[in-house]
């Protein structure tokens, strides 16, 4: 019992944080800007103005995209081009800094600080925790790009360097390519893929998550993005600067989820077509989005423990099953040796791949790396906040190791297995179906060459769908918390609203020609302001940790 004034018969059952001394003393009371009441029998408790402006701006943007499709598409493509091409050096450099920052934290004395106070105990077991952060973080991307990305880099590397009349490279190969050398192209392709899915994205998530967890659990500020800025903006975070940060976060999260939901439906549809001959059309896709949203709805209604965690664990179990199957059914020994070889290749090529300036491989560094970094960063408020919420009780060192190193290794393993098998099919067996297939079905074409295709492809489709459900439900919880001013116990009606809203936006965009792609460009463009946010968060974390008792 840490509080001497507490009567002796009181039992708290709560870990008592000894970090109470480091709580930030602010006059702001959580929920003071909230409006609560009832609409009919349903209660609400929302932040004013974050909820309304976020919701209305989403509706406005959807309306703009539908009303003026050509204009909006050209505006968003222009913005996307400016951001990813003009600021490639900034994204790549920022990514490197964030990775270095995390690695320094692991070995620094700050690593001992425990999120939630010195005596806090972890809320979740390693398995549950890891399943949740992985499912929210990048699950679906692994299904989409596990086969296709290594294949793309391999093909472009094999093609060698091509230079246009203006002296600028026109090929998409990473670094100096590997014209005609299949072995070198394979190593370079895998190293480039691992670079995009390994330490860098997870370091981005780790920084956002750590700053939120620290300022919420240790400093007592609301669990919302603006809180991470307290050391820099002080009491101003409760005013418009804070509102803008939160609105931007909701905006990026909602559109990020809605556009991904739309694209995920197209992949699931393509897979169902391959497997069962289900027609590829918008009716099927709308039905798929509705089904995904319905399952996500059940999940959010069952809550963090009964819904999101359970689904994430099912998800991870299925993913591991598929991974183990491909590993065993494919050229096992080659994959295992490949795993280590690709890791060595990654370390070997990392300095050149992560070099932010003077790059000659402009298409690769701008079209792939810069695109990915902007994408990861635009997703980071969502994933970071979700990771923060489930990470109370971990030390900073444990947190970084588990959020940065372990998921990175899983991604290396995943890419080595799926990409490795697909590349082997091309190099050794001359099987090019996966290489030539459209992006959404590359995975299924690769599985075609392995035994039990029907079963594995079915698991693949289920995984695509469940990965979307786990992103959708955790996203709804995050948006709900931000738009409730950091309250994690707002009425359930609100999370239902955001979950349905997300599905509805996805359907509307899917039905409009080019809507999904143009809004995805817009979302990725939000990565630019968030990169500045990310770098400032590193400073805030350092300052915050420095004031913690260790």
């Amino acid at each position: 019992m840490s509080d001497p004034s507490t009567p002796p018969e009181t039992s708290t059952g709560i870990p008592a944080p000894e970090g109470a001394a480091s709580i930030i003393d602010t006059d702001y009371e959580l929920g003071q800007n909230n409006i609560d009441g009832k609409v009919g029998p349903f209660g609400f408790d929302i932040h004013n103005p974050v909820f309304l402006i976020s919701g209305l701006s989403v509706v406005l943007f959807v309306f703009y995209t539908l009303a003026l499709p050509e204009q909006s598409s050209s505006v968003f493509s222009w913005l996307f081009g400016v951001v990813t091409k003009g600021f490639d050096w900034f994204f790549i450099g920022a990514g490197d800094l964030v990775v270095l920052f995390c690695l320094v934290l692991i070995v620094s004395p700050f690593g001992k600080v425990r999120l939630g106070g010195r005596d806090a105990t972890p809320d979740y077991t390693y398995v549950g925790w890891f399943a949740m952060l992985f499912a929210a973080g990048m699950g679906i991307g692994l299904m989409f790009y596990g086969v296709s990305e290594p294949m793309s880099h391999f093909s472009s590397s094999m093609g060698g360097i091509a230079v246009g009349e203006d002296g600028v490279r026109t090929d998409w190969a990473p670094l100096g390519a590997a014209a005609g050398d299949a072995e070198a192209a394979r190593r370079l392709g895998m190293a480039a893929t691992i670079y995009h899915w390994g330490l860098h994205p997870w370091a981005i998530y780790a920084v956002v998550a750590l700053s939120l967890a620290l300022f919420s659990f240790n400093k007592g500020l609301p669990l919302t993005i603006r809180s991470a800025f307290y050391p820099l903006l002080g009491e101003r975070i409760w005013g418009w600067p804070g509102h803008v940060i939160d609105i931007l976060a909701v905006f990026a999260t909602l559109f990020g989820l809605a556009t991904s939901l739309g694209f995920g439906a197209t992949q699931a549809n393509a897979g169902l077509n391959e497997l069962f001959g289900v027609p590829v059309n918008s009716t099927t896709e709308v039905l798929l989005i509705s089904a995904i949203t319905a399952v996500a709805l059940v999940s959010v209604l069952r809550g963090l423990d009964g819904g999101v965690k359970v689904l994430s664990e099912i998800n991870m179990g299925l993913a591991m099953l598929l991974l183990a199957f491909v590993l065993l059914a494919g050229p096992t020994l080659l994959i295992i040796t490949g795993f280590f070889d690709y890791l060595v290749a990654y370390v070997e090529y990392l300095p050149a791949l992560s070099n932010p300036i003077g790059r000659e491989d402009v298409n690769f560094s701008q079209g792939w790396t810069s695109f990915y970094w902007a994408w990861w960063i635009s997703w980071s408020p969502f994933v970071g906040m979700f990771i923060a919420r489930v990470s109370r009780g971990r030390t900073v060192r444990e947190f970084i190791i588990c959020v940065l190193l372990i998921p990175s290794m899983v991604c290396v393993l995943w890419m080595s297995v799926f990409g490795g098998v697909a590349l082997d099919q091309v190099i050794a067996d001359n099987y090019t179906a996966a290489q030539e297939a459209d992006l959404p079905i590359k995975l299924f074409k690769m599985l075609d060459e392995l035994p039990l295709t029907q079963i594995t492809s079915f698991i693949g489709i289920v995984l695509v769908i469940v990965f979307f459900v786990t992103s959708s439900d955790s996203g709804s919880l995050v948006i709900d918390t931000i738009t409730a001013g950091g309250k994690v116990d707002a009425p359930v009606t609100q999370r239902v609203f955001w979950c349905v809203f997300e599905g509805a936006v996805a359907i509307v965009l899917l039905l409009s020609a080019g809507g999904l792609a143009s809004l995805q460009s817009m979302v990725i463009s939000t990565g630019l302001p968030f990169t500045i946010v990310l770098l400032l968060m590193c400073v805030a974390i350092w300052k915050g940790l420095a004031s913690e008792p260790r």
């Binding site: 840490s2 509080d3 004034s5 507490t6 009567p7 018969e9 009181t10 039992s11 708290t12 059952g13 709560i14 870990p15 008592a16 944080p17 109470a20 709580i23 009371e29 959580l30 929920g31 003071q32 009919g40 029998p41 349903f42 939630g116 106070g117 809320d123 919420s216 659990f217 007592g220 500020l221 609301p222 669990l223 209604l301 069952r302 809550g303 963090l304 423990d305 009964g306 819904g307 919420r389 489930v390 109370r392 950091g486 309250k487 994690v488 116990d489 707002a490 009425p491 359930v492 999370r495």
Partner: protein, 137 residues
């Protein structure tokens, strides 16, 4: 008759719990058993407290004040929940077992349409708990 009475308390809306609190205090005095005030908080900061510890201290102070006013023996038990919007009923049922309460006195609202979608906490706790439940409107 009863060994311990548990009263779920929402400190943010303690003003709406008057009748339930009064009933529990009266029963506590009548049976000479302690009344345990149970509060469920979030692990993240809430409008009531920055940390679960601070919440526990506030709940303890609330319980002590109730004991003083009612002249009965008062205890408190604070529980931090991952997702109280959804987990509240289960958390309360488990809390009753943890504190050894055999009677739960809880306030509940007048039934409305929303109860068909999300059943009331009183109804759910009465349905699932092993303890006797007295719902006070």
């Amino acid at each position: 008759m009863f060994a311990k009475i548990m009263v779920p308390v929402d400190l943010a809306h303690a003003d709406k719990l008057g009748r339930a609190l009064e009933t529990a205090a009266g029963l506590g005095g009548f049976y000479g058993c302690p009344v345990c005030y149970v509060g469920v908080t979030t692990e993240a900061p809430s409008s009531l407290a920055h940390t679960p510890e601070e919440y526990a201290a506030k709940l303890a102070a609330f319980a002590a004040a109730q004991g003083e006013t009612g002249g009965h023996k008062a205890e408190s038990h604070a529980v931090a929940s991952h997702d109280p919007s959804v987990d509240l009923d289960g958390t309360l049922i488990k809390a009753a077992e943890d504190v050894g309460a055999d009677l739960i006195v809880m306030a509940s609202h007048i039934p409305n349409l929303a109860d068909h979608l999300w059943p009331s906490h009183g109804g759910q706790v009465a349905r699932k708990s092993h303890a006797s439940v007295l719902v006070v409107r």
